[in-house]
């Protein structure tokens, strides 16, 4: 509705859209680009919004939400930026480090992840915050090790809260493909994070 209003010439509608999505989009672009291209975040972010501005006349909400469309544009811009920077961007969802398709029961690291320890319940609040901050830092590092398709699928799903079908729509892939990419990403991240969090394995508990 807001995008339709903006396409009709209502500048305030765009301001509302921007206020609603600017933080998540910025974070998504920043994490997709990684630390190596962190400086390009602003450029990609601005380019994405300008695409929205220029494409307002062609905006037709055909089943996809504005958010899905917005992240699709951002994903395209990120891919372009990565390619311009000389990085090889694989669009193969099954591109893993080992090159083999992911199988939940076979992956050994998955088992380890299922038992990933959380901070001890008795730990102080400060310690808990420190724990999750270190986990967040580690997770960003693990994310950079993921292929771009898996990384984008995981970020859209876990950070921006898109459902799997929306993830598939944003990445312009099939539902199963998106699901597979997500599983690969989670498996690798669990393995990566499980190794990091091993010293904290005192008592298993769910994150609060």
């Amino acid at each position: 509705m807001l995008m339709t209003a903006y396409a009709g010439g209502d500048a305030r509608a765009f301001e509302q859209l921007y206020a609603r999505h600017q933080a998540g989009l910025y974070r998504f672009i920043r994490r997709l680009l990684g630390s190596a291209l962190n400086a390009q975040t602003d450029e990609v972010f601005q380019d994405t919004w300008l695409r929205v501005v220029h494409a307002r006349a062609r905006w037709e909400p055909q089943g996809a939400s504005f958010r899905t469309w917005l992240f699709t544009l951002a994903h395209h811009r990120v891919v372009d930026m990565l390619r311009r920077s000389g990085r090889e961007v694989s669009i193969d969802a099954f591109d893993g480090e080992d090159g083999a398709p992911w199988e939940p029961g076979v992956n050994a690291s998955a088992t380890a992840w299922q038992h990933w320890p959380a901070p001890a319940a008795a730990a102080s609040h400060t310690e808990e915050i420190a724990f999750w901050r270190r986990a967040g830092e580690k997770l960003l590092g693990c994310l950079e090790q993921l292929p771009l398709p898996q990384r984008s699928a995981f970020l859209l799903h876990h950070d921006d809260g898109l459902a799997l079908d929306e993830v598939a729509g944003a990445l312009e892939v099939g539902f199963e493909t998106a699901k597979t990419r997500l599983r690969y990403a989670m498996s690798k991240l669990r393995t990566c994070m499980g190794a990091y969090l091993a010293p904290f394995s005192a008592a298993g508990s769910e994150p609060r």
């Binding site: 765009f14 600017q22 602003d42 501005v53 079908d165 598939a168």
Partner: protein, 401 residues
């Protein structure tokens, strides 16, 4: 791209088994979790978005403005501008002439030429009285009154009391003619047996002079029938009516009508006017500058601009009057109807009546009427019967009283 997951529990986002709470929590506490675009960048994006909406509105006004500019550019092209200016000039001229009659002579000219000559005027046959009378100087007329009377008219023309050129038809058209078939006893075809057929003799268009002359001749010489007794009565009536001068005609047209009615020269002038009005006007001016050599020319000049003329008999010039103009027409008609060869170069030594005519205060012509002839002092004189001369004198006295 999107998939319908309403029937597949595995596709239901509510039962999303892939969402890992640990990883989500770790992401939420990541160092860049609160990263936001710089304020300047946000402002720049919003500014560009607003500019885009403003620019979308602007082209509409620019488009409307460009339409006017296109029209203006089209009008500014030389060819279009010239055409537009021509139309404007034509409009201005048309407005200036709005309500004014077109040159009436132009419209009448074809009718004058196309109308066949009426036997009542063009070939006015001599009345039985005239026919019975032997050719006398009174009824003989030179074929060209303005020209030296060297060429006598044929015998048929001699019988024609009222010579008229074959082309004259204005009078029958303007007034219902009174045919005078009884007078056409010579059997000559209209327009062929008259003097006018042989030479451009002056026309008889105004019945008034002839009516007066008929009265005079009837009084003086009962044997001679009035030459144009059969002249159209309506025209004569019209000429007599004072309201005629107030008719809704332009001044120029009225003057032309007067000239046409007063005499042959006037008729000649009016006949020339329709074909080329400006040259005729020029001729009239140049004609007036010089002294009129003939009565016809004098009448034409007076008919064109009567207000510039005055007459004098007893020392005080007075404006020329219609009565005097009718009298001049009478004289001219009488001299035109006179037998060819009846001209004389010398005036009689007897008692004479002198009429001086002034144009713009300058003596322009002197008409002398003695007991044997009548004519301009500087021009040829025409011998007339004593009775006719007496009638003319009487008429002159009446007109200049």
């Amino acid at each position: 791209m999107t998939h319908d997951m309403t029937h597949d529990p595995a596709h239901d986002p509510a039962h999303d088994p892939e969402r890992d709470a640990w990883l989500t929590e770790a992401l939420r506490h990541a160092p860049d979790a609160h990263a936001a675009p710089p304020a300047a960048l946000s402002e720049a994006i919003l500014r560009q978005a607003r500019a885009a909406t403003n620019a979308a509105r602007a082209p509409q006004s620019v488009r409307a403005r460009s339409r006017w500019l296109a029209v203006w550019d089209a009008l500014a092209r030389p060819s279009v501008a010239a055409g537009f200016a021509s139309v404007m000039v034509a409009t201005v001229v048309g407005v200036m002439w709005w309500g004014q009659p077109m040159d009436a002579t132009i419209a009448r000219a074809p009718a004058v030429d196309a109308t066949p000559p009426s036997p009542a005027v063009d070939a006015t046959p001599p009345s039985p009285a005239v026919d019975a009378k032997p050719p006398s100087p009174a009824v003989t007329a030179p074929s060209q009154p303005e020209a030296p009377p060297a060429t006598p008219a044929p015998e048929a023309a001699v019988k024609s009391v009222a010579p008229a050129p074959p082309k004259t038809a204005a009078l029958p058209q303007r007034a219902a003619p009174k045919p005078a078939p009884k007078r056409d006893e010579t059997g000559a075809a209209p327009g062929t047996g008259s003097v006018s057929a042989a030479a451009p003799a002056p026309r008889r268009e105004d019945p008034e002079p002839f009516a007066d002359r008929r009265a005079a001749e009837e009084a003086a010489a009962p044997a001679a029938a009035p030459p144009v007794a059969a002249a159209p009565a309506p025209l004569a009536r019209r000429a007599r009516e004072p309201g005629m001068s107030a008719a809704p005609q332009s001044k120029v047209e009225a003057a032309r009508d007067e000239a046409r009615a007063l005499g042959s020269a006037g008729a000649l002038a009016s006949r020339a006017v329709p074909r080329a009005a400006p040259p005729a006007a020029l001729r009239a001016d140049s004609f007036a500058e010089a002294r009129p050599a003939t009565l016809g020319a004098l009448l034409a000049s007076i008919g064109e601009q009567p207000e510039r003329w005055a007459w004098e008999r007893s020392g005080t010039p007075r404006p020329i009057t219609p009565a005097l103009r009718r009298w001049l027409g009478q004289v001219e008609a009488a001299t035109a109807a006179a037998r060819p060869g009846a001209t004389t170069d010398s005036a009689s030594s007897g008692e004479s009546a002198v009429l001086r005519l002034y144009r713009d205060g300058v003596l322009s012509a002197t008409l002398r009427l003695d007991d044997a002839s009548v004519g301009l002092v500087a021009g040829p004189r025409t011998a007339l019967p004593p009775a006719a001369l007496a009638a003319l004198k009487q008429a002159l006295d009446d007109a200049t009283r």
